[in-house]
Amino acid sequence: MKWFLNRCGRYRQSLCLLAGGVLSEPERSQVENHLAACADCRKYCNEITKMAAPLANWEGNFKHIEPDQIIRMRWAKAVEAAAEPAPVRRLTPIMTICEWWHDVIWPCRRIWAGLAAVWVVILAVNISLREQSPAIVKSGPSAEMMMSLKDQQKILAELLTDRSAPHDAEPQKTFSPKPRTENMEILTA
């Protein structure tokens, strides 16, 4: 629907390609027909073409730059040096890690950003976990815990009442020393 309402939109890519000089011949004639009829697209095309003109004619700004013979020789020597077999360099694991660190990790900002993001996530998780524990304390014990506590209190109360009440059913055992021998009976008598 959006495409239908904005019919010029589908020509915009072609206009950019036209300004870039890479539009194919059949497309070019189609776009030129549209340009003849549409003032907005004509204006857009002029803007893009004028904007890209300094880029298209970039080499005119550097016409004076020519590599001299010394530079050409230097480049040729660099290539020849690269062509020679390099001396075998024994790299220890630590040296390899150092080179990898220096060439890959250190210059890449995205890796540092990623590491920082990981640390932030760890910190956030830690803080959120710490904040949960006081909340549990503040909310108080659950209903189940209260029920079990009440049960325990009942049991304790029963035990206490049992201990304090007199035991009528059980007769009190009185101490009656028995004579161990006959002689002892006589003695007691």
Partner: protein, 207 residues
């Protein structure tokens, strides 16, 4: 967008290429000889000053020599070289960002390069004032290109600095022609918007 030094696509080029692939550095040097001027200009346009550009070209040629077995001829040799140049430039920019900034390393500053250019303006056909204006416009637009996302910047640089065709760009970037078209469209659209926001250039866009 006229290719002035692109004589590589001649009849001798395939033979030189095969000899270079066989390990003959002399053949490689002959192969790149006609491309060196353009490559240096491209590097200067990227880096901003000639001495950095010379080093950049040297690195590019060494890299090209090492990667020559991987060149599969799906694009022009000059486009392939330019893709390596772009890659080397990006790498050097990334390294420079991690180091302290020096004034000499700033791209397109009013350094000796610009003064050299003004000295050489007399040698060109256009008037010095016109040439200076053109150069300023180019520098402003180049800075806008630097602000583009990498995938858009690559397409713009390949198209305008290397005059690469759509299939060549697709081969170098490893994507489809449709993707290249889309990226070029978005890149130019972004550049147009960026340039319209520049206060001193607003008058240029009002047609």
């Amino acid at each position: 967008m006229v290719i002035t030094d692109d004589h590589v696509e001649t009849s001798a080029a395939p033979e030189l290429l095969s000899r270079a692939r066989a390990g003959e550095t002399r053949a490689f040097c002959l192969l790149i000889e006609s491309l060196q001027t353009r490559l240096l200009r491209q590097a200067t346009a990227l880096a901003g000053d000639v001495s950095t550009a010379e080093d950049l070209v040297s690195e590019t040629l060494v890299e090209a020599w090492k990667s020559l077995p991987r060149y599969n001829e799906t694009c022009r040799f000059s486009t392939w070289l330019y893709a390596i140049l772009l890659h080397r430039h990006q790498k050097s920019v990334r390294r420079a960002r991690s180091r302290p900034v020096s004034l000499a390393g700033l791209p397109f500053s009013e350094t000796e390069e610009l003064h050299d250019r003004h000295d050489n303006i007399a040698a060109t056909e256009i008037s010095p004032a016109e040439a200076a204006t053109q150069h300023e416009l180019f520098i402003e637009l180049r800075q806008c290109v630097e602000e583009l996302p990498s995938k858009h910047r690559q397409v713009v640089l390949l198209r305008f600095f290397e005059d690469a065709s759509l299939p060549d760009m697709a081969a170098v970037l490893g994507c489809s022609v449709g993707t290249v078209k889309s990226r070029l469209h978005h890149a130019l659209e972004k550049l147009r918007k960026m340039k319209m926001n520049l206060p001193d250039l607003k008058g240029d866009t009002q047609i």
